[in-house]
Symmetry: C3
Subunit: 153 residues, 3 copies
């Protein structure tokens, strides 16, 4: 199965590709690499999941939000590349969690995105290096923001 | 107009290129890419703008500080490359804001740097991918720190 | 002296290479570059140094923790490359400190890792660009997390 076929089999809905909230590009190709800007948990109705992990939501809800961030990143890739098959592999993910200072389960949360990528591009190509860390705050009080680097086919 | 000519037309003053505060290089060339370390809002008198956004300064002041960070990055590029014309385009910016946990306008703040880069290298080449996020703290209590990746001509 | 010989002369003990705490690879080769995921201060007995800088430990202890993070990164490099001689140079380090919001000495802390890398690969090749910043929290309440990018020989 191709990445496009694998994604279709998941029966997940892509939100609309997000429009920039500032002076940046959501997506940029550099040689055989493709960078995506920090994405938030954009829903299909164009609203954002909001709240601080540990105060407004628990870690299972935050993991779900991280999956939604992954879907927003996929929407950006789809819009710009036309197909997930154009991505050879995930190189790097930076997963940023907006949480209370006593929160300790950032890797669990960011797995929501990483497990999605692993399903689309496979256990090897879909998994790259990663940092999963806790921020003091995030734009619009979103719970999770993720930026990523991919290698193109 | 070239990037150097565009910058001259802005009538902005470059601070002195910052000297490292630790064991790192402010600038590094890797093939046709150029990385710059996290920079702070260094002023022409070599002092730093200090304070926490949301407590000690508002978002307009913080945006101005982000522009000053952009000028410090330009000073580092000028010192190491001799000319802004050596930069082909902005690839990536990581904008980090030292703010209270209820702050939500990080993209607005980091635009202070991004708008400067867009004026120097143009609306397309001067704008790359970006994340704009809230830190728990920053060195010397500066309000903004920005690191960037550029493609060389 | 080679990097391997320089490391041996330091008489420092490598912890076991850390196993992933989530869906990511600790190490990834991309052309002539090598990325390492965010690493924590893993000790030889496989426990982690824990605590928040400014509350549970002072900056000297945090610097020591950052050195231990550096050793954990070296352990990952050794396991995957077999030798530190396979690394040509350090390109980029992102040093993340879990600290109270009034903490200002992040560069001092991250020097614990950067000085180690400078000893292994030398004052020029062992020193890259860097950002040293304060997080709201880190996984398992570790005081320091560091990710890095290297150029391979």
């Amino acid at each position: 199965m191709t990445p496009d076929e694998r994604f279709a089999a998941l029966n997940l809905e892509l939100p609309p590709a997000p429009t920039p909230l500032g002076v940046y590009k959501p997506f940029l190709i550099d040689g055989n690499h493709c960078y995506v800007s920090g994405h938030g948990p954009l829903l299909s109705d164009k609203t954002l999941i909001k709240g601080r992990v540990g105060a407004d939501m628990n870690m299972e809800e935050a993991k779900q939000a991280a999956q939604q961030v992954g879907l927003a990143i996929l929407a950006t890739l789809k819009q710009n590349l036309g197909s997930f098959n154009k991505i050879k592999k995930v190189i790097k993910v930076l997963g940023m969690v907006n949480c209370t200072s006593d929160f300790e389960r950032h890797p669990f949360v960011i797995n929501g995105c990483s497990e999605l990528f692993a399903k689309v591009w496979g256990e090897d190509n879909g998994v790259g290096v990663r940092s999963a860390v806790g921020m003091g705050s995030l734009p619009d009080n979103i719970p999770v923001e993720i930026e990523a680097l991919f290698e193109l086919v």
